[in-house]
């Protein structure tokens, strides 16, 4: 109970459609990681999973007021936690 309010951390690839999350940290490296960051997926940013492509990949996210696509393999390098609606 000491860690009350501390939401569980997991990978963005496991997110649910329609829910909003907050980026905790980025794993990964190099060009792909930097591109993810330049597109606005930096720690403390809110990100909502809008939709998943018909074949289950990639994901359609809402970040900073725009829609960003990202593959599950990249999304699994992004650690997020759930936030209230």
């Amino acid at each position: 109970m000491i860690v009350m309010g501390l939401a569980k951390e997991f990978r963005l690839a496991e997110a649910e459609v329609g829910k909003t999350y907050e980026v905790v940290r980025l794993e990964g490296f190099g060009a792909v990681r930097r591109r993810i960051m330049d597109m606005g997926l930096v720690p403390k940013t809110r990100v909502k999973l809008i939709n998943v492509a018909p074949l289950g990949d990639p994901l359609d996210l809402e970040v900073k007021g725009f829609n960003l696509t990202i593959r599950k393999s990249e999304a699994s390098t992004i650690i997020v936690k759930e936030v209230g609606q």
Binding site: A31, R34, R35, V42, N51, D60, N67, T69
Partner: protein
Amino acid sequence: MERRALQLAVKKFKVAIAGNPNVGKSTLFNGLTGGRAWVGNWPGVTVEKKVGRIRVDGRYLEIVDLPGIYGLTAYGVDELIARNFIVEENPDVVVNIANAANLERNLYLTVSLIEMGANVVVCLNMVDLATDQGYKVNSEKLSQMLGVPVIPTVAVEGRGIEELKKAVVEAAERREKPAGLVNYGSKVEGEIGRLSEIVEKDLELARKYNSRWVAIKLLEGDSDVEDKIKLSPLSREILDQAAEAREKLKSSLGRDLEGYIVEKRYEFVSQLVEECIGVLVRKPITLTDMVDYVVTHKVFGIPIMLTALYMAFKFAFDVAAPLCDLIDWFFGCLLYDLAATLPGLAGSLLADGIITGVGSILIFVPNLAFIFLFLALLEDVGYMARAAFVVDKIMHKLHLTGKSLLPLILGFGCNLPGIISTRAIEDENDRKTTALACPLISCSARLPVYLVIAGALFSAYVTGVVWSMYILGVIFALIMATLFRKLLFKGPSSGFIMELPPYMRPMLKSIGIKTWERLKRFLFKAGTVIFIGVVAVWLLSITGPGGYLGVEALGEATLLEQSWIGVIGHGLEKIFTPMGWGWQASAALFFGFIAKEIVVGAMAVLFGVSEEGLIGAVSGAFTPLTAYAYMAFVLLYLPCLATLAIIRGELGLKYALFTAVYEFILAYFVAFLIVGIGTLVGLGG
């Protein structure tokens, strides 16, 4: 000072336009230059460079359109081009176009540009859209916080363009050095200060670069800036200091420095957004979300995409058909007959060479124009990005990306614009792979060949046989792409990190310009190459080992057999013995190298029949099996001359030759297999 005086004397300013993709950059460029621009390539790479020149109050502005970018790292080709242009060419002003309806991400680039030391004027575009979406941007406040002018515009309606031009001229004459914008916190700022002091000791570096920017980039570990520093006599000192600072900061901050710096920059941007944007109402569901729900739907997404693309082609071919007939009649009958009345060599060269050759290209123009028009419409509305999103999973399985979709689809119209449009793929490996596989997609020039041969030998199943060719083309394009990506262009996937732009009302002008630019390139490239090719083949037909045969050879099969073309045909016949194609069919393939549809006309000449009598001649020369192999061979054997020229222009001679060789081997192999397997299972008769 001297430099400035010189610039004022000639009153010519260099202006660059920078901004994210999909924010109206092309519209702004066209609005500023009035559409008058010339197109070239950036040095060393084949990314398009557009330049226009205008006069404002007696001063010349040379306006350069930089590639659409999100950041200024050393990772992407586009980003490096933009960055190097700003650093090396030192434009007087950088107009940063930002989408008022999506400021947070757009301002990240703005902050990066100002940090570089560029003399920035912000063009706050689509302010109307922002208001519609419930935002209100305080541009005075924004200007004050950024320390640069901010001009609100609606580029599609031309609103604010005059004010922007004025602000650009004023900024160019002021030419201020911007101060540091983002505060990275005392620890990092201390290191930035120390590092930039050392950088400034090298006067050459200090003159060329903004030392604060160099220091920040070195802390980020930017490889391109490190390479630039290596040329300095102080490189040791600078790089050692940078490495030491990075280590120190990494342990004191407890995290990676690159991430920290990006985060701080975004923190500053959030602050800007908070203070300069009033949110009136945030609509819960936008139109974009609703449309996306349908077009990327689990069940309907893929059928919708296939329908949209099918409609694009159906529409293009149906609308264009009467126009194609008209052009065919104009060249094939009117001009041909007119030129043929000229006596001797000149008449023949004009009629059989130039008019036939040029006509064979122009006949595709209506088809292509409508395909390009429809695809440009789908692109501008924002749908093509969704189509890429929908198919990415399949493409990824084949080691490609969803972004390869548009080039391959365009390839069905004509391979040339397909290959050119691979420029939009940032990853070099993905781009080369797509460009090399694109010629295997069955373009509209191959259709007449299928129609004649299938019509002659598969009368009841023409549609099915023709369809099978298209499917065969797609299958081989995907197989070869997978092989290339795995064997030749190895490397990790660069992912599918892409913006899905909001849906937009299509702008007639922008679609028109896009369509015309693609068409123009096809006409010029195809026109010049085919012109040369046609004349060469004409010469080879009227001369032979025995000397000059006369222009009659073009209409007489027995005479033509003695020409160089006849010699080549008989030579090729030997190569194609396993497939059982005669010398006429083999020689026609040689003509097809110029443009595939010429195969039909060439066969008519070689068999010594009219095009109407061709069906009979062809059905006598092939069995269904050898005919099917022949069609597959025409589909795969060699890209046409114009396609090879484009590959050479885009990727270099090496890749053009490679394409010719691999396609020939593939085609031979496939045709051989078809005949071989067909004979084995008893279809040979």
